[in-house]
Symmetry: C2
Subunit: 157 residues, 2 copies
DNA sequence: TATTGTTATACTCTATAACTATA
DNA sequence: TATAGTTATAGAGTATAACAATA
């Protein structure tokens, strides 16, 4: 068994903190979302769908960075709740165009309000200015990675 | 299909950004860790083990906040690589005391250096001061939730 | 009886291969 | 032939129930 020396180099990695907070928010959010009959993946899909507007399932899968095969069941569940709608494309009958329903838009707003409460609870250790700083730092870091792009740039976007 | 109005309330949730960056770091870290024959769970276990020192499997499971049943296989894999050691306790022969080996301590240092590189790549959009700000904001938020506590305080710690 | 480690089992999330219908 | 959606399947990660050894 190793003798623990106090020589631990203390690398100050931010990723463990990032991962910890992400997990805390996710766990609390899951409880909150259960009341809506939704899981995190559903909310992400609805959010992206609102951003990109109507598109094919392949488009949505690309935007969500999940496999198209896993998208099928996800959309089935959202369609069962009438939150999204699939229509066969007239131009290319292989394609299913997907979009939010009115009920989907409304439910997403309610969910976001609930998530904002969870978030303020988890970030309670920070005051308003600090929360704003955190947001802008994260946004800047994400922007440096090429988020909010429609075509795959240098990296995988 | 819903008509998209520009009335989206723009709630500015930080959790999606947090989740996005966490995922980016995790995916890149997984590739890096594969070279060491390790996955994220292994690194987390080694890190916590270095922090808390030698302890029973139940202690380690509590510190890791994972189920003791899942810890068994994890420790088997780490023991196969001679990174940790299980010894039966003399005081209570039901207990297996677990600790890092010298090889485990050394490998963890190498892994941390590799992870620091991944991190600086993902956070390249931020300069040195901004990365330091991000770290301290995350630390403060985590501290507000009762991290770095040995006994379960108000929350689940 | 209670606890430690263990095994077996199930459920979710994710990734891959193969099928269908269209092009 | 290639592509969009689908299905089936397998692998991780996680959680619960039951068991053997020990207290």
């Amino acid at each position: 068994m190793a003798e623990l020396t106090p020589t631990s180099q203390e690398l100050r990695l931010t990723s463990p903190l990032l991962g910890y907070l992400e997990r805390r928010i996710r766990v609390e959010a899951e409880s909150e979302l259960a009341a809506f009959g939704l899981r995190p993946r559903h909310v992400i899909a609805l959010t992206v769908l609102r951003q990109i507007g109507e598109g094919s399932q392949a488009d949505l899968a690309t935007a969500l960075k999940i496999d198209r095969t896993n998208l099928v069941g996800l959309l089935n569940e959202l369609e069962d709740q009438d939150l999204v709608e699939r229509r066969r494309s007239h131009e290319d009958r292989r394609r299913h165009m997907v979009g939010l329903t009115d009920a989907g838009v409304e439910k997403l707003s309610e969910v976001e309000a609930a998530l904002a409460k969870v978030e303020s609870r988890v970030l309670a250790g920070l005051d308003g200015d600090e929360q704003a700083s955190l947001y802008s730092l994260l946004e800047q870091a994400a922007a440096g990675l090429g988020v909010s792009c429609s075509e795959p740039p240098p990296g995988d976007c």
